[in-house]
Symmetry: C2
Subunit: 457 residues, 2 copies
Amino acid sequence: MATRDPRPWERLEALAEAGEPHALRQFLELILPGEAARVIARLTPHAQSRLFGALDPIDAARLVSELPRSQAAELIEHMGAELGAGVVAALPSDKRVDLLDALAEATREELISLLPPAEAREARELAEFGANTAGGLMIKEFLSYGQDVQVREVIDDLKRNAARYASYEVQYLYVVSAIGRLVGVVAVRRLLFASPETALSSIMQPSPLAVPVNAALDLLRALFERHRFIAVPVLDANHRMLGVVRRSAVEAATAERSERDYLKVQGIVGGEELRTLPWVVRARRRMSWLTVNIGLNILAASVIAFFQDTLSAVIALAVYLPIISDMSGCSGNQAVAVSLRELSLGLLKPVDVLRVWLKEASVGVINGAALGLLIAAVAWVWNGNPYLGLVVGAALGLNTFIAVSVGGTLPLVLKWLNIDPALASGPILTTVTDMCGFLLVLGLATLALDRLVSAAT
Amino acid sequence: MATRDPRPWERLEALAEAGEPHALRQFLELILPGEAARVIARLTPHAQSRLFGALDPIDAARLVSELPRSQAAELIEHMGAELGAGVVAALPSDKRVDLLDALAEATREELISLLPPAEAREARELAEFGANTAGGLMIKEFLSYGQDVQVREVIDDLKRNAARYASYEVQYLYVVSAIGRLVGVVAVRRLLFASPETALSSIMQPSPLAVPVNAALDLLRALFERHRFIAVPVLDANHRMLGVVRRSAVEAATAERSERDYLKVQGIVGGEELRTLPWVVRARRRMSWLTVNIGLNILAASVIAFFQDTLSAVIALAVYLPIISDMSGCSGNQAVAVSLRELSLGLLKPVDVLRVWLKEASVGVINGAALGLLIAAVAWVWNGNPYLGLVVGAALGLNTFIAVSVGGTLPLVLKWLNIDPALASGPILTTVTDMCGFLLVLGLATLALDRLVSAAT
């Protein structure tokens, strides 16, 4: 699978050592989009610093924009504050805030203090908004004009500042009052059809849709689903315009959030993990979740210790304990997954908990019966003991019902309690289903102990 | 938590019964964006049909666009072919294809046959491309002109067809040769600065970036990361222009894919599940995955049956079997999650399997040692048997190392074998780690049986 040619990261490393910005830029443009992240990840930290030292800030910023956020943050942490500040200053304002947000606090403060004053002030302002709110997602580069400005003046301004406006959101012009309140919007292409002397106020759409600076990601997502805009203006409490949120920023933040939720469900918390991170950090982050989990596991398994006599008498039961634990976890996690998804799509709210439970109950009865019959048949045939089959089958059937009931409703309850359901649902669910499952198998076995033992001998 | 006012779905149901399109439209505009999906989901199938029968097709299409794809597909299935075709015809072409793709085959064919001929042909064409390729994501509504067309003529055309072009991607004009080959692109706002007699060929950017119709989602995503375009043109094998893929379509498809992957990891397969689906369908879909899983579970637990004598002699071991099974599954799934994510971000390829294993090994040694020591201490204190602690601790430590090794590398191997890693990694991983875990605990216990038993008595 390996090729004989020098690998791209080896060539890049050589070019970075030579320190020729022009050759570097050419090489980076030849790497396929999507390859850049993988190639950069292969470089040693030293080579990465050399590379970003050799690139001019614009090229460096472009390259950083292509990387996943956590990888970009790690790079910036390593490249030293001065170099880092140069790169960060060259990013558009939304990417800049996003990246600063992913840095360690100390690095962030140091970088911001090294930014040009205007950028530093803006970064501090934007950092105050939550990452997944209109304020955190907006860019501050937008075009705004007074109501009396004429079309000709706007076109002249666009022509004169074409280079600077290249990084702006330029599909719309925003019309603002003397104190900066948003009063209208004009699609740029409408300028094509207007005579040069027209005032913006007569071609603008008045009272355009806008969002408050604290609007949540879900609202923004729903808004862009309903309307075909490319961008929506963001207002402060006094209706002054602060920036624009672009459709693509909302879509990207949604994708990032579902990726993060997925990682959380699997027990990667406290920041996204990339394998380029030092292994101590990776081990520690994973461990924090595992430690909680092993505590819950010991709690659940302690139920088994109460029934050691039953277990000694019918040792075959030991085979079925892990099966019941695992299968109930699976059934329950399916229900959790559906609830988490319906929550994120806005189909559910915490008040719907009863409705969800009813919907899950029917699935739980069917699948509980099916799985229970299956495991009962296996136990009867394998152990030659119909009573063992009955005990194990009844336990799995009942516990499947419990598992889907808890799994379906738990995320809603956690959401209502303001606990992140993606994070907490899994561990709580499996602890409950393990305890119930062990209790059911061993409790039913204790009740039927005489029959179980006499049938076995 | 309930309000005394009639709930929105009750009002909507009443309005649908009354069948007044105007009142309905007004009501729907008042529902908050993001609420629509939840309100529609509350309606009975009958009320849903009444509602869509009462709306005009444009309003109905707008409402359908706001719903998650699987909910929209279900609605269309229920509303009858004629009504459904009217709604589908009023959707923009990318949403139309996306929705048709989510329908059952028979419904899809029937609907397509009822579409106007041009829309039907287009839908058939687009349906041939994979859903997550440039062809599947593109819209066919774009503006193209010949090279000799003058700026004035373009502006006239835009003015004349403003209503029709409202649903077009209108940030760029595409310049095509006589046989439809893409030769250049002009940003619409450049028209503002050009004199009316200029030919497009003299202001266009020649040889613009474009993608082939089969370009994959990952490539498109990387392309939009690198470049600031809002849309990229799609070409067939002869460089003829077929459509444009918009940035927002790529971001949305990425979000949808990670949601689907998350559901798959949790065992929801064979189509996205919403609780509005009939419970028989939901139970069956979930069951197919559970059946595979219970088979694998029985296989893994059969290891325990081989060691019944050891287990009878040291019944306390039974408590630790589910703990080791569950903890190893957790550690392994953390590694799976990181690999799946790095695969989807393009940071990993199957050839990187050795590098990933080395990175996981160090985490595995650390966390294995930590978890092993922890459980050893618990077993020693709880059961008062240092040898039991030694056996259980060594087993969990070794098995954690195995679990992260398998979990980190398995997704890459599956990807290389062209098996969906999101779907298959979990069940394979836990079967392997269960078998190894049981084998380690009970095997080590068998070796140390004399000491275990004498220490216990």
